[in-house]
Amino acid sequence: MTGTCSRADEVRKLVMGGQWPAGAGDELRGHVSACKGCSVMASITLAMRGAREKDFERVRLEPAGLIWWRAQLRKRREAMEQVSRPMLKVQTVSVGASLLVAVVLLAWLGLHGASSVGWGGWKAAAASPFAGLASLGGATVWLGVVVLAALGAAAVYFLVEREG
């Protein structure tokens, strides 16, 4: 234990067990008084064990039940966070995807003009499926915007509700 004397560990164990010096033989006591390493070992251990005993009298402990209750609360919160983490990811992805598609739609509107977007496209598509395909695009854009707005709003709502 000390790296100095082979008997230092024996001395330390006696002190730790409260058997020093009464529990030690004359030979060991004589050795400790002559051996620097062992006497240092005995004095340090005695001082620290004494301080430890005094600390035991000084400490005012919180009730175990209070610590237990705090641990339970934290454990439940951690478990709840673990469960809701995938849902948060889904909500974040939904918001991100909605924003991305909204940007694409705005760009599309910018390129083709707002006049090309209208319910007339559906009528044309119904009358002549092949010829009306081009104008159908405009109506689909509006439908997409409405669906995305609804999905995005729902995702943001759940996200905000969770944070709250």
Binding site: G3, A47, D55, W68
Partner: protein, 185 residues
């Protein structure tokens, strides 16, 4: 259907995860036996009783929340001391807190100036401990107050056993000299 199963599984996982590794009666017994030694360790190493109380409570809460399984009370207590040691280290690393290496001697003397002037063994120990480095204080306390072996100290402090042997030898020599001089350098 698969969503329902996943949700059900998740709720079961949550219920299992929110269970603590001990029941309240077991914990109360463990706390009664371990809290005082842990407080003494934290208090003597940090030199701050209030901090020791805070870190002790946090150590027990983290111990209960950890999924680490312990075989028996000896291992559980060692694990608890390891948590406390890590908390102390984290506290020292915080930039806002002053380094305890630089804390004046008076702050580490827990019985005040009167006790410091008294040359009893406790006051001498406090003076000597105040002059030791943090790691030295931890090692000395674990070895001499708690009776931990080199291997156990290495485990608690996350160091190699060989390093502990050497560092403890030096720390012991240093504190031995300090105690010889009544705790003063």
């Amino acid at each position: 259907m698969s969503w329902e199963l996943t949700l059900e599984q998740r709720l079961q996982q949550q219920a299992a995860a929110s269970e603590l590794p001990m029941d309240s009666a077991q914990f109360a017994a463990f706390y009664e036996r371990s809290a005082r030694p842990l407080w003494a360790y934290l208090s003597r190493v940090s030199g701050d009783r209030t901090l020791a109380e805070d870190l002790m409570q946090e150590s027990f809460v983290r111990f209960l929340c950890a999924t680490h399984g312990c075989d028996g009370e000896v291992e559980a207590r060692r694990y608890l001391f390891r948590i406390a040691t890590n908390l102390l280290r984290d506290h020292w690393r915080r930039p806002v807190a002053s380094s305890l290496d630089e804390v004046p001697e008076a702050a580490l003397a827990m019985c005040g100036a009167a006790a410091m002037s008294a040359m009893d063994s406790e006051a001498m120990l406090e003076r000597a401990m105040a002059k030791m480095g943090l790691r030295e204080r931890q090692m000395l306390w674990l070895a001499h107050a708690e009776g931990y072996s080199h291997k156990e100290i290495a485990e608690v402090m996350d160091l190699g056993a060989t390093s502990v042997r050497l560092l403890l030898f030096r720390a012991r020599r240093k504190i031995g000299q300090l105690l010889e001089n009544g705790g003063a350098a």
